[in-house]
Symmetry: D2
Subunit: 430 residues, 4 copies
């Protein structure tokens, strides 16, 4: 039996009102330096450039995921469901709290360029020589291994994994509500208490009782709206691309032995792809932000320009096109190059299939944990087979693709560009 | 007539739902690098260590103050009040937007140690060689001077000043609502639309019509609750004190020619008290945060310890005492010193009169812009003369003072301390 | 130019925060006795038996529709859209306010039994000898006729009609938000301010700009959820059916010259289908409620039993079946009759196609005012052609039908029923 | 051990989100006809004439009080407080649910005229031959007696009584939140979860821990705002007075053997002050409303005029005066009489001390259950001794008194009135 705190601790939380901590292990995990570090990493990366309220950190989110998991489990326990493995409570709570512990700053952009992955880092931090590891081991020597397995989805009991990462998990429930709250968009909200009332453990799965179908439709519709209105917002994409170009330029320069004026500890590790745990922990958002400030004064004109753009929010503009047209894209690249604009760092063609966030796609092979509806007559059914709405939400979006480019630069040199490109980018007229 | 945007621009805002921009000058000010920099400075400094949601920036708040001012003015215009000087609209909006532009990172702590003041920097940024200055001058060559006068409260028309900084101004209305929203406490909310309905311009003042007294009571009660529950929260005070100790230690070391491993550009300017505008702008919260990370690896044990504490949120604990007792304090200092704990950096006695936030104190000499109630029979009256509640809110709080100290350090050496101190700090027993 | 009030009047409203009245005509209409009567008619009829908060009146809703219309028009005027016929402002506002003035108590049940229609009564009240008519005529002698045409959808300018009754009108926007607020379900809320920002007048229509498609999806999804969760709730249906049975029984008894103990003025008019305007106005929900109380003491056992059930909320239970099965239904009727239960008054087979509320069905012939999307390239398109989600929401729901019956009665006599019926109604087992 | 439902029942509630029922007794009580009758009695009487949203019933409120009591008890149980008498749980819940069961329609007005009191009726209904009595007795033969004692404040355990009716009870917590929600005023809201966290059972009392003082200040401030903005609103007072005048006129006429056209069952009982339980239950708001409709057609000109006014919301106007001035009031009465206006039915002088709602007045002799603060050092203290704000809220309001009168009537005959009265009522000028 895990040790309880003498007195319940409470965090004031704008999304869940209060977050309750009863277990000593949870309390100690929150106070580790690895967990406190999450205060220095924003939940939504560069989204704050589109939605100025989106300045909340992964620290808040991680507490929120813990709280959602705690409420689900407490509802399971209150109802005395036989299919709930009550001995897994602490494992679930720790995994919920720690599931993002390996996230670095602006992960979407950094990971793509440097091939670091937050899931790997999460395991390193849970299993390595860290305060988090010591707190977990103290509670139970098996706990670090189990937590890392839950987070990597290899833990033997699916029901534990699916509480933390499935199509209807504590992670998503918190981030949809939280991101909606902080951006200020209303359409990410759904009635979590209603969801809690319709889910239950059933033979190793978490399932939805049949009468709860509309509740799930509402939840998936919120998710759909958040993806299109917030997560995939083209201005946010533009800021992510801008950041990625900075790292790509720095990597190129480093490969070319460019003499950086500012280049310290973990940056070298990052560029050489051999960060130690200590360096990784040091590399928070302040570090990146301050580096960009310093690099805006570097002599390389591309690096300094890209950094200035990011700092002062002078983002690439975008133009929408219907589908990929490779010959035209080649022409675009060579046209820019001819006009003296390096397309490697000043052009991006972005289509939605590259997106880091996923929509519920039940047919998808990778989707091992879909949402299951339990009915008296028919047993378990994947939910989109029952709901037209979910089916249409799940359908792949006929997304336009976007071309990102620095408008003033291109406009200045528009006369040097072929008319097909000028037209594509809307540079003529008006 | 100020130039209008061809199409109104809109920001999604969680507090005011939408923020509307119609003037080209406002739009251009928002896009200056000095204004964008406010994204890198948190509105509530270290409060996020107490309320994890309080991670919002001065950028959001500044947009909010602008929006509140816009709504007040638009309500005055819609009602066609003769006493409203409609030619001052753009000046009001610019001043509202820019009133915090000179804020540096963690101002409360930094200003105390280094004697920089954000009001001064605001004037420097508005009047100096900056993008903000250029945008203002473009609209009207007198605008920079006027904006700086409004912000410094020396502008000739009181009504313009009081919209931006008085006891019932756009600044306070936004920050109370915003800080309540992001911390998640409900008691900072009041009905702003109701306030808008009861205020009006009257012979150079902004006054409240008599029937609006309860609305103002509600607003001041929210403010009172926010001060005691949020702004003066002892854990927040502890984190501010921790930060201040870092700067005090660094200043001492710099004076003693300590060889810092990490000490770059604006830090030197800060320590020598001769920052240029360019350096000041570079010195954002990332810079300070990253500096603290680096200094946690310095050889000076006090500096590195203080930085570690701040980074990992290992804050000083506090004990409450009823009133100052100087002999006991002296004993406390010498007791700590004897136990090998430098009281200059590990002890703080904090009483509420030092607080940077103010409560409405109508009797106060410094209060030149109190809240005035307008009645048919009696003309203008200062509001606390009519309301018992406001009078009791305004009364000086019989605040306990707090002693802040590093609990584990002191506890380790408790046996070396006199019993009077052990008792004061609650070190005996349990 | 319509006369303005000397001072704007304001109503506190829980849904729209404040409702603003500037026109004298609107103010006077609100104060007519016909409009005040709407306070005595609930907006959602018997829904309060399912959702206890749903006790709000048509008075509140009518003010709300007026306010939504006022905000739409004021946004059109502020943007100076050329396609908005500004001379129609007062007509729109009056029509919005009065669109439900002809509603009687529990209209869905009463209208079916007695063949009175609220649209007809609205015209009678607007055109007849009423206070409403006098107030309208005072403003403009043509106004009563025009208002009645707008409400009956025969007014020449489609744009005026569609503001009041189309697929995206002020009526629906208010009732979705209001019914969600009072029932307490969250899923009826959508962001009205966002909708206001994406609609505009365009060549005689109100259209949605292309980038607003997701906003409309969100609105239609709210509507869809409200229909399935609130308006079509089987318990609400059961209470409506219970009420209808009362009226059907009374009509039958009246036809059979049954000597009612309680039968006054307008009830006779109702039963004989020749209500005068005066009688119609007298017939509010209190009248019906009190009549049911009195009839619960009548000697006719069926009438008194049905009234008791309604009064004390002893509603018919329901069983779901997949599709109509006429032979089985005939067997059910005769089985009940054989068991001494009159199927005319104790049985109802209800399928969703009878429902009084509509879902957006763009293909429907009766739908003359669908939602149109305006794009630069393609001009106007009906919105479901662009959105998979709207298409799937609009699809006819494969609704089960429900059989309503008095459970205890039927259960008492279950042994007398054939087993096929016992099975259909779930009377065996457990 | 009380019997539990096989499956928890849930009501959707706009104020508490969900109301949970686990006990069979509670479920059965809700389904009694006496409890269902509360659906036909509005919580705030005639307040809907001032705040159109205030149409909610005592049914909703009673469920809410039950839910608040349930949450308080469940929090006490979860914390395992030794001072909580856990055997009293069902008694508390039943008392919370039933505390208003004896309320009749528009009680404030009716009780004053006819001397019926809802507390007495509550006991009659709980102890008499009713469904409620049968359900309670089934659970425990002592339960009816105990419930009636708790509601009448004579039950031996103070802690049980104070949960239901004290200065910080479930009743007030629900009605403040609920009335704020339905009227739409924001200032009645307070953070109930925060209150739950600071109260606890302590030696037979429910007390507030010292650090919870600001939470109580916030709660009492909400209450103060609600009283002045909602409960004591002069327009609401006017509608209550209008209704009282109707009953007073009817009583006078009945005494004078006036031949009423409409006078049925319980009305006679009411006028003769000998209502049976059955008649009392029949006398709901519909009955009164319909009676007023009928009486508006009586021949007595005063009765029919008063009824018309109430029906169509043509309320008495009011004028404020500073203090009672008996000679002037006598002059006013005789002046009206001389002008042919019967002052018994067309004049009311109302001062706030008559009000049916109370403010927290700790010094009051009648206040046997004040709010107690528990501190480690000082034990229990009445809270206003610690808080300036509560002391100032509790102070008796220097309320103006209001004179209510029918403006048009008086204005028509203004020339016949002495100038002192014309001035008092503001009839001259403008």
């Amino acid at each position: 039996m895990p040790r309880q705190l003498r007195e319940e601790k409470v965090f004031k939380d704008p999304v869940h009102k209060y977050i309750y901590v009863q277990d000593e292990t949870i309390w100690n995990l929150i106070n580790t330096k690895e967990f406190q570090r999450l205060r220095r990493i924003r939940q939504l990366g560069t989204s704050f450039m589109t939605f100025h309220g989106a300045e909340h950190s992964r620290f808040s989110h991680s507490l929120g995921v813990y709280e959602v998991a705690r409420r689900i489990i407490s509802q399971f326990e209150r109802n005395g469901y036989a299919d709930w493995p009550s001995e897994e409570r602490l494992l679930c709570l720790c995994s919920a709290l720690l599931h993002d512990i390996g996230h670095g700053p602006f992960s979407h952009s950094v990971e793509k360029v440097f091939g670091t992955y937050h899931e790997e880092w999460t395991c390193k931090l849970v299993l390595g020589d860290t305060e988090v590891n010591r707190v977990l081991s103290e509670a139970d020597s098996e706990l670090p291994r189990k937590v890392s397995e839950v987070i990597c989805k290899s833990y033997e009991k699916e029901i534990v994994v699916s509480l933390i990462s499935s199509q209807l998990d504590a992670d998503r429930m918190d981030y949809l509500l939280r991101d909606a709250y902080f951006t200020g968009v209303h359409y990410g909200t759904f009635d979590m208490e209603r969801i809690l009332r319709v889910i239950r453990p059933h033979r190793g799965h978490i399932v939805v009782k049949e009468s709860g179908m509309h509740a799930i439709e509402d939840y998936l519709m919120s998710r759909y709206q958040m993806y299109w209105q917030v997560y995939f917002h083209p201005v946010t994409r533009s800021s992510e691309i801008g950041l990625r170009k900075i790292f790509e330029r720095a990597k190129r320069l480093y490969g070319d032995s460019y003499p950086f004026r500012f280049l310290m500890g973990p940056l070298v590790g990052l560029l050489e792809n051999n960060l130690s745990i200590g360096e990784y922990l040091e590399l928070d958002e302040s570090y990146i932000q301050m580096t960009i400030m310093q690099w805006s004064k570097e002599q390389d004109p591309i690096l300094s320009d890209l950094c200035e753009r990011f700092l002062h929010r002078r983002l690439f503009k975008y133009a929408a096109t219907d589908a990929r047209d490779e010959p035209l894209e080649r022409e675009l690249r060579s046209g820019l190059a001819a006009a003296g604009i390096d397309p490697d760092f000043y052009l991006e063609i972005d289509s939605i299939t590259d997106m880091p966030y996923d929509i519920y796609r039940p047919g998808d092979e990778e989707e091992s944990l879909p949402i299951l509806l339990l009915s008296d007559q028919e047993g378990l059914t994947e939910i989109s087979r029952k709901s037209d709405i979910i089916r249409s939400i799940s359908g792949i979006h006929r997304g336009k693709q976007h071309i990102y480019y620095p408008e003033e630069l291109v406009r200045d040199r528009a006369s040097a560009l072929p008319s097909s490109i000028r037209k594509m980018l809307g540079l003529d007229g008006v």
